[in-house]
Every structure is written in C-alpha cells, then in structure tokens.
C-alpha cells in the first residue's frame, strides 16, 4: 500500500440494552485507539445507516470489520447495506463463549469481566484488520 493510507472502517453495534453491546462498543475503541490506531477507524453506525455521505464513502467498496453484540448482527448488516465489499465479523456473543467464566455486566460502565471481554473481542478484530491490511503494521 502506498500513498495516503486509508484506515479500515470498523462499526460496532453499540446496543444500549445489554452488556455485550457495550462490550462491542468498547472493543471498537480498544481496537482503534490502542491496538491498531494507524490501521482502523470507527465509523458511526447510525450515521452510516442514515445515509451520511462521508460515512458511506469510508465504507463503500472496501473491506470492513463489524463488531456485534448479539445474533442480530446490526453492525454487519449496516456495513453490508452501505456497500462494503466484504464484512469480517467479530461476534462478542461467540467471544464470550470462548472465554468461559466471564460475567460481563453494566452498560455505561462495564465491570472488569466486561472490559476483559471487550479486549478479547478487540484482539480478534485486530487479527481481521491485519488480514485486510497485512502491510499496515509495518508501514
């Protein structure tokens, strides 16, 4: 990749009713601020689905990462509707199954288990980012 590097768009479900949605949102922030700040960028899901042109341009025709809290996969659907070429999915409800013993609680303020779950989801998302942009980490 050369010239101006475009960051991989990331959408999170941000569900307000459940801890897994909150963990998805937190995972998107961990990914884009701590793990892959130069490679990934959060796109606001509501803006995207409501047809915001700038958000749409970030996604259309590109590979993107969706981090969803529940099986309804709203973030993945939103990215697909916005014309993403391919959507790589990270499902927090699956991540929690792989980390037995975690009991995420809270929405605005996740408990320790919720933050641990968010970090695990972010690490899975980081792998997806590296697959999409393998040169990015060395750029």
């Amino acid at each position: 990749m050369s010239g101006e590097r475009k960051k991989v768009p990331v959408a999170a479900c941000s569900g307000i009713g459940k801890s897994l949605g909150a963990a998805a949102r937190e995972a998107a922030h961990i990914l884009t601020e701590d793990l892959r700040p130069d490679q990934a960028k959060v796109v606001a899901l509501a803006l995207l689905v409501m047809g915001d042109e700038e958000a749409g341009r970030e996604v259309a025709g590109r590979e993107a990462v969706a981090i969803d809290g529940c099986k309804l996969e709203c973030a993945a659907k939103g990215l697909a509707c916005a014309g993403a070429a391919k959507v790589r999915k990270v499902a927090v409800f699956d991540v929690v199954r792989r980390h037995r013993g975690l009991k995420p609680e809270g929405v605005c303020d996740l408990n320790e288990d919720g933050l641990t779950l968010a970090k695990a989801a972010a690490e899975e998302a980081a792998k997806a980012i590296d697959e999409i942009d393998p040169e990015g980490r060395h750029a």
Binding site: S14, G15, I16, V42, A46, V49, M50, A75, G78, C108
Partner: protein, 148 residues
C-alpha cells in the same frame, strides 16, 4: 375496570461511536432508565431499529418516544420518524452544551467530569420530557406510523 397497558415512553439515543456527545446520550438515557424514571421508560436500540427490528419499530409507532442525539445530524430523531412516527421530543447534546466545546467533555471512550455532568444535565431534561408526555392526554400515533 379493564387492566389497560401502562403508558411508557421509549428513549432512543444515537450512541454515536465517533464523538463524546454520543457517549453522553447513552449515559443520559441509561440514567433515566435505571434511576430517574425506571417504571415509565424503556430504551429502544437504535442499531436494531435501523436494521429492521420490528419490535422496536412497532413500539415507536404506537408509544411516545424521545430521541436523544449527540449532534445536529439527529440520526435517532430522523430514524424514528422515518421508520415509525415522529418522536414527541428531540433533545440534542450540542444544543444543551452550548458554550462547552467538544474537547472539554472527554472522549467517546471516556467522558471526563464535565462530560459526566453534561450527561446528568441531559438526563434531567429527558426526565422532564417524560413527565410532560405522561401528563399529556393519549393521542393516536399509529396514523403517523402508517404512512411509512
């Protein structure tokens, strides 16, 4: 006397992930739901609403809703109107926070003390709107929803 369903108000926050104001909307709505008006409100999940969640859309078609948005794009208010019926109230963080620059309230990931105080202020405004709506006579919302 028949046992009529209780009138509840649906709260829809934009939850904007890019901006601290989106985080303010989440925190304010949860404060109303959990503490200020737990028996009078429910939250509607905007991503689900946008992705075609029929339960969320049906609720907003027949029950009053309050849209809480972070910025003047008003995604929550526009989505509610587009897919169900116009919200009875629309509250926008940037309008409430006039004179308080975005940089002063923290980040989308972590609000600072000023951001948390702004969320409290927003929550109080939402609760006022809930009370106003619950005192208002019932009105038909289905008609507005039927046009979509």
């Amino acid at each position: 006397m028949p046992d009529l369903p209780k009138k509840k108000v649906g709260l829809i926050s934009c939850s904007g992930e890019e901006l601290p104001e989106g985080t303010v909307t989440r925190r304010a709505v949860r404060k109303v739901l959990e503490t200020l008006r737990p028996d009078e409100t429910v939250t509607l999940c905007l991503p689900l609403f946008l992705a075609g969640g029929e339960g969320e859309r049906a609720f907003a078609r027949y029950y009053p809703t309050i849209a809480v948005d972070g910025c003047d794009q008003r995604c929550a208010a526009r989505a509610t109107e587009k897919y169900s019926a116009p919200p009875v109230a629309s509250i926008v963080v940037t309008e409430v926070a006039k004179g308080c620059p975005r940089e002063d309230i923290g980040t989308a990931r972590r609000l600072n003390q000023r951001g948390l105080a702004l969320a409290e202020e927003m929550a109080a405004k939402i609760a006022e709107e809930v009370d106003r709506e619950l005192k208002a006579p019932r009105r038909s919302r289905a008609k507005a929803g039927e046009k979509h």
